[in-house]
Symmetry: C3
Subunit: 138 residues, 3 copies
């Protein structure tokens, strides 16, 4: 069994951002040499997500509006978590979008449907944060 690990760092310029990280995961996979197995990609921070969806800017705008409606940032004082912080909403948005994805590796490639792309979802940005890539297989 081969195991491979890498941390990827991001610093989103805005509080909320969606960053397509598919090509970096593809690079990790090539580096690992794994032909058959699983890759786990997860946010290492609890106000961020890794998820799979479409790379379409209209959709990303819609996600932002929708998440803000489901878990509004303000009023900041409406959340008990916000004592010396203002990111309670980010902990909720992250649960809706998910912490992690597990992707099948087949014949040395990410085994994806036609539109699947991997995103880092940031809900409390403007700081350096990490994504973990862990691959196991053969």
């Amino acid at each position: 069994m081969i195991s491979y690990r890498k941390e990827l760092w991001y610093n989103a310029p805005t509080r909320l951002a969606f960053i397509n990280i598919t090509s970096e995961i593809t690079d990790c996979l090539a580096e690992s040499g794994v032909r058959e197995g699983f890759v786990l990609v997860n946010a290492m921070h609890i106000t961020a997500s890794v998820f799979i969806n479409d790379d379409e800017s209209g959709l990303h705008h819609d996600y932002e509006v929708w998440l803000e409606k489901l878990a509004p940032h303000g009023p900041v004082s409406g959340y008990r978590h916000n004592v010396g912080e203002d990111n309670a909403d980010a902990h909720m948005k992250r649960q809706v979008m998910g912490r992690e994805v597990v992707v099948a590796i087949t014949d040395g490639k990410l085994d994806f449907g036609p539109w699947e792309q991997i995103f880092y979802g940031e809900f409390d940005g403007q700081r350096r944060k990490r994504v973990l890539v862990k691959i196991i297989g053969e």
Copy 2:
């Protein structure tokens, strides 16, 4: 290490549908010969889900009503993604229900609690779409 891969195709007759695919995953597992490991089951399309819950028609009705409230289909023009499409809501419903499940394999069986069943959740149906089954283990 054994690795096994199969695509399952579905064509839901309605826009939204929940299809119990547990027996097909059980068949894949038998075919793989894996006794200990993990099975990943994921939607290969970004407007569909794979999730685990109860096979109870009342609950499925409740899910439909609830998802429609969280992410309404209309007005279609309320989403920027809906340029030549009308499925923005399906991209949101899929995030709530999730893309994938990872299930433990123990002694050659899906290692399930008493009511766990695997569903394909379709949110933009009436077309042929795929689910990926990937098994690794021994």
Copy 3:
């Protein structure tokens, strides 16, 4: 390949509860002897979650308020699932928070970011329910 399996039992004193189970997962990992691999931790019941977030009581209060707003417990008769049951909302809350987590194992440890903690999320408590821990690796 090593495989390891354990069931953990919980009996939450309230309908909704968040229980930090990180140290029990750490114990399982030590017991397994796995140095590199994945651990899957999932609720075996369909009205409960396993998720990763912050161990902060204000946030847990905020999650409870937020989940109750997204999927209210009552009126109980508002859900078709509630025939002889009153837990339809718990099936929804569980989908928002998720069934499972997959965590990387690196050098014999849970490969976590600074604040990641594993929780059992109970949405229909006051009864004995199980979490499955399955580890594969080397």
